[in-house]
Amino acid sequence: MSGTFNILGVGILTWITFLPILGMIAILAIPSGKDEISRARSLNYFRYITLGITFIQLILTLVVYSGFNFSMPGINDASSMQFIERVTWISVTGLPMLGDLKIEYFLGIDGISMPMLLLTAIVSTLAVFASWGIKKAAKGYFAMYLLLVTGMMGVFVALDFFLFYVFWELMLLPMYFLIGIWGGPRKEYAAIKFFLYTLFGSVFMLLVMIALYFAVGSFNMFDMMDPSKFDQNSILAGFGTSWRYIAFAALFVGFAIKVPIVPFHTWLPDAHVEAPTAISVILAGVLLKMGTYGMIRIAWPMFPDAVQYFNWWIGLIGMVSIVYGALCALAQFSVGKRDLKKMIAYSSVSHMGYVMLGLAALNTEGVIGAIFQMFNHGTITAMLFMIVGVIYDRAHTRSLDDFGGMANKMPVYTAIMTIAFFAAIGLPGLSGFVSEALVFLGAFKTYPVLTVISGLGIILGAGYMLWALQKVFFGKLPERWSGPWDPTGKIYKNDDINYIELGGLVPLAIVVIYLGINPNPVIGMMTSSVNHFVELIRIGGNFAGM
């Protein structure tokens, strides 16, 4: 089934990637409307177009999933990538200095991109429900949203480094505007911080990309992974040289900022606190995964020697992220504004630390755990941010001090939130447990001490999550919320969560529970890739005599 699926002569991956652009054009073509009625009508058009487009994208992704061959490894082997689309994009010959410049439009997936593709499709479809309340400049919002989706999808399917970089940067722009225009009170600060941080990381990536290009003579990722393709005179040739370590470190920092890992994480709490709900969902659900995806797709296979050299440090960084993120999340109860969203943002730092730890394990359990954790963190944290959005839309505050006793006011909401919070804690039966357990089992084989210290994150995680649960739901309802949320009954008919919000949350809850009981659908598709990946890094690293 490695053949490409074509629709109207265009490959399915291209469809998936660029479908949102079509939607964006459609949205831009529809006028916003002048009076109240026509504006409301166009707002509905925008919503349904966005939902429709992302839903079609989801269906197409499921089509890809159904045709996906679980046994083909991919990673550094172009012949076992699937759904390949390859045409020359930019081809300039006879340049001074550069010689021939050839950039390909090269798409394809393997067992590592497939889960991310699914995740992106799921999260970006469901986040539309969280965007339902956007009224301000809705046209721009939904257009930007769809552009963002294209950027994200593109990153996960690109196999040409240059193309990857283009998508990577493409997604920055809408994100900047989405935070900067539709955000909270300090949106400009948060947007600029996000933008500069990420750009800072991109610069490193760009430098390494160019260095690799000079060494290999093409932007093809597979060439860059193949030691025999390197020009013997280039600085990156050979194994275990300090130039390679520096290049790896730069690339690592570039991706690490996106993950984010301590100490490059401070953009995340600000961005999350200020971003609108749906954007927080996308940010936590998909964007953070791009960092670790980049590591697995690019940094690790290209520099296996450096990975082995730095591996302990990567594990350490993972451990620090886990514990540090958890402590900072817990700190939201004792200092600061007790912002629920900020707490969840720090919990993301902590949870992404598990991914780093799993990667550092460099064995099957660890890496599968890491990738599965990426997927699960995507779904679970998406739920968490949607949940915060629900209560924020009603109460217009996120401070934990303002809440209490919501369990009686909003029972269904409480049930959903309990599922999400316990999934984040890693309760067995929910998907978070499987991935965390695999990460720990794998990492323990490599770095027992780091792993056991990281275990503190489990306890601290239970601490802050239960604390938040208690603050919001248990105890007595504050006087100010004793009435209905919306006395006019126009926006919120009932006190409990409404159907649109449930539309976003329930599918995620089902995914979380289902994968907790039967993780095979996701783990199955990555096993052969991960085994190949682990072998590649281990052998590649040993090649250098490590």
């Binding site: 402590l327 900072c328 700190a331 027992p448 489990i458 208690q470 007595k476 993780p519 085994n531």
Partner: protein
């Protein structure tokens, strides 16, 4: 009944309570009071099935170690993660215990919780708890065990916090979950060591690998560590020192919950786990387990003496009894440890349900008197309940006798075995502190349990409330009676003073250790070490012992019995002198040993110490980290931004002064001419036409 059918029925037993949960949780409003009937009847079916399975296991396959079933959960390509379930004798017995107590608690709750507005939800939670607990019981591997271990934690969290409007309840539930998490971290670390070494989670595979000499990191020390870490899960779940703090607080939950979870089943899970992994404990690990149990038993007993809350006394007594069980396993008295688990489950559930009955009655009485301030659980408000609630009184009294270890009760049989075990262990290993603590605790248990009975049931009504109480109806009384009857000796051994000849001791023979001899007490090593299979066949006679310890235990039996009778009798006598005949004023005694009294009354200040050290330390650490995050890391980021801004300002100045000066000059010229030209911009078509004509003229002029 074939193995296959037995396992299928076990699966049904496991999932029936989950079905009950699902049915009720999605139909809360629709079902209303019917939820109780559904939950109870499903558990009734479960109980019947469990009885069938247990009967088959004990009668048809008594000699098969375990009947089990394994399956791939998911595959990692070159390795699979397996789950499975199995029924061994322990599990078969536990099935009965869990389903019977759960059934009785369901029945009890239909009346006890009938006035609660979240009545259906309560039953759904009971359902998911029973499911999780049965999952632990049926686990044949560490991973399964851990999964259900956590689910039990969740259901316990939900049930303790059932009345979440009360801050104390929601705090208690949180505390229970987090404290358990600490133990679970240790448990999981143990699992990681096991998986790392043996690449499997299955108990039988792990045992056989250790037997064949595979040790983690090739080190007996790490094996000890693995044992202790796995045992850490039990420390958390079974409320052993130092993680026992959550259990007394957990009494904030509804009383049936306390009976089900915090007395009979969930807290016993730790002991059950310890029993399951018993073969992997090395000498050092066993000693650790024994001391943990002994100290817990002792400490909890001292605290239990001075508490005034009806349920808290029972809670500390539970902790103390769990200490006994753990100690028993630690000293190697495997049979009696598990035996005590079962007997304790009956009488402690009886005690708790009886306390629920009392509280229920007190509550109603308070309601009648329009009193909303008194504490219905404070024993100082009770007294004389014997007259108003005779059935509750009788069952409670019988359970008290059982827990105190008076002959003709099940408690006597099991406790006697444990005490004999500690004596044997002390004799063989020289750790005499353990039997000492055990006997003192046993005496104190008798004392404070009778104190509780006398203060609350005997004498005169201390308050008007107590006089207005009356006996509860059948749904509440029936479970008490059933549980009290089960605390008679006959169910376990026909000989009321020696359990070793009864069926129970025969069904739960001590298991052989798999630890290599150099890491194990020599008295724990099987006699037939050299030729394993043959000697099991031979050991049929009345005096065939597995190892030297068993032999010693048998020899110490009568010594222990007399000692324990004496000490329990002394405790009972003392409590009658203090509280019934009031010959000695307990307050005076308390004052004469004030520091000790305060230590006991304030629960050894352990909560306070934790608050100051761990919790306070963590909060301080979080503050520090957040400070670092805000001021150092983010400060650095903002600082860099600030420096760039200053640089930018400087560049900007240069730009404005010099570069922009030139630009502004040209701009000024343009602006000036623009200000003239803009006058032409009248917005009138005619002007534009004129201008265009002029333009055409100029063009023509230029052309020619």
């Amino acid at each position: 009944m074939s193995h296959d059918l037995l396992l299928k029925i076990s699966v049904v037993i496991l999932f029936l309570p989950l079905l009950s949960f699902l049915i009720i949780v999605f139909n809360q409003k629709r079902l209303g009071k019917a939820a109780g009937i559904i939950g109870t009847s499903i558990l009734g079916i479960d109980l019947v099935l469990a009885a069938i399975v247990a009967f088959n296991k004990f009668v048809v396959y008594p000699n098969e170690a375990i009947i089990q079933w394994k399956f791939h959960w998911f595959s990692l390509g070159n390795r699979t993660i397996d789950l499975g379930l199995g029924v061994d004798n322990l599990a078969a017995m536990m099935l009965i215990v869990v389903t019977l107590i759960s059934f009785l608690v369901h029945l009890f709750s239909t009346e006890y919780m009938s006035e609660d507005k979240r009545f259906p939800r309560f039953f759904s939670y009971l359902g998911i708890f029973t499911f999780s607990m049965l999952g632990i019981v049926l686990a044949n591997n560490l991973l399964n065990m851990y999964i259900f271990w956590e689910l039990v934690g969740l259901s316990s969290y939900l049930l303790i916090g059932f009345w979440y409007e009360k801050d104390s309840a929601s705090n208690a539930s949180k505390k229970a979950f987090i404290t358990n998490r600490v133990g679970d971290l240790g448990f999981f670390a143990g699992i990681m060591i096991a998986f790392f070494t043996f690449n499997t989670f299955m108990f039988d595979e792990i045992f056989s690998q250790i037997r064949s000499g595979v040790l983690p990191f090739e080190s007996g020390t790490i094996l000890t560590a693995m044992g202790i870490l796995l045992f850490a899960g039990a420390i958390g779940k079974s409320a052993q020192f130092p993680l026992h703090v959550w259990l007394p607080d957990a009494m904030e939950g509804p009383t049936p919950v306390s009976a089900l979870i915090h007395a009979a089943t969930m807290v016993a899970a730790g002991v059950y786990l310890t029993a399951k992994i018993f073969p992997v404990f090395t000498a050092d690990a066993l000693t650790f387990v024994a001391y943990t149990g002994a100290f817990t038993a002792f400490m909890a007993a001292t605290i239990g003496i001075t508490q005034n809350d009806f349920k808290r006394v029972l809670a500390y007594s539970t902790v103390s009894q769990l200490g006994f069980m753990v100690m028993s396993l630690g000293v190697g008295a495997y049979t009696y440890g598990f035996f005590h688990l079962v007997t304790h489950a009956w009488f402690k559930a009886c005690l708790f349900l009886a306390s629920g009955s009392v509280i229920h009655a007190m509550h109603h009485a308070m309601h009648k008197l329009h009193d909303h301030h008194s504490d219905p659980q404070d024993i100082r408000n009770m007294g004389g309940l014997r007259k108003t609630m005779p059935k509750t009184y009788l069952t409670f009294l019988f359970a008290t006798i059982a827990i105190s270890g008076v002959p003709l009760t099940s408690g006597f049989l099991s406790k006697d075995g444990i005490l004999a075990g500690t004596l044997a262990f002390g004799n063989l290993s020289g750790h005499w502190l353990i039997p000492a603590m055990a006997f003192i605790s046993a005496g104190m248990t008798a004392f404070y349990m009778f104190r509780l009975t006398i203060v609350s049931f005997f004498g005169d009504f201390k308050t008007e409330i107590a006089s207005k109480t009356h006996e509860n109806n059948t749904q509440i009384v029936l479970p008490l009676v059933v549980l009290a009857i089960l605390s008679l000796w006959v169910f376990y051994s026909f000989n009321p003073i020696d359990a070793s000849s009864g069926w129970f001791a025969k069904a739960f023979k001590p298991v052989e250790t798999v630890v290599p001899a150099e890491y194990q007490f020599d008295f724990m090593m099987p006699y037939h070490d050299a030729h394993a299979t043959e000697s099991t066949e031979v050991s049929h006679g009345s005096h065939s012992y597995l190892n030297k310890f068993e032999e010693e235990l048998h020899h110490q039996h009568y010594t222990a019995m007399f000692l324990s009778l004496a000490i329990a009798g002394f405790g009972i006598l003392l409590s009658f002198i203090f509280y019934y005949y009031k010959k000695v004023d307990p307050d005076k005694v308390a004052n004469s040993i004030k520091p000790l009294y305060l230590l006991s009354y304030n629960k050894w200040y352990i909560d306070e110490i934790y608050q100051k050290t761990f919790i306070g330390g963590t909060i301080l650490l979080t503050k520090l980290m957040f400070w670092i995050d805000t001021y150092i890391i983010d400060g650095a980021v903002n600082g860099v931004a600030f420096i760039w801004r200053i640089f930018g300002t400087f560049v900007g100045k240069f730009d404005n002064g010099v570069v922009d000066g030139l630009v502004n000059l040209s701009g000024g010229v343009v602006g000036f001419s623009g200000s003239i030209v803009r006058k032409l911009q009248t917005g009138r078509v005619q002007t534009y036409l004129l201008l265009s004509i002029i333009g055409v003229i100029l063009l023509l002029w230029w052309l020619f």
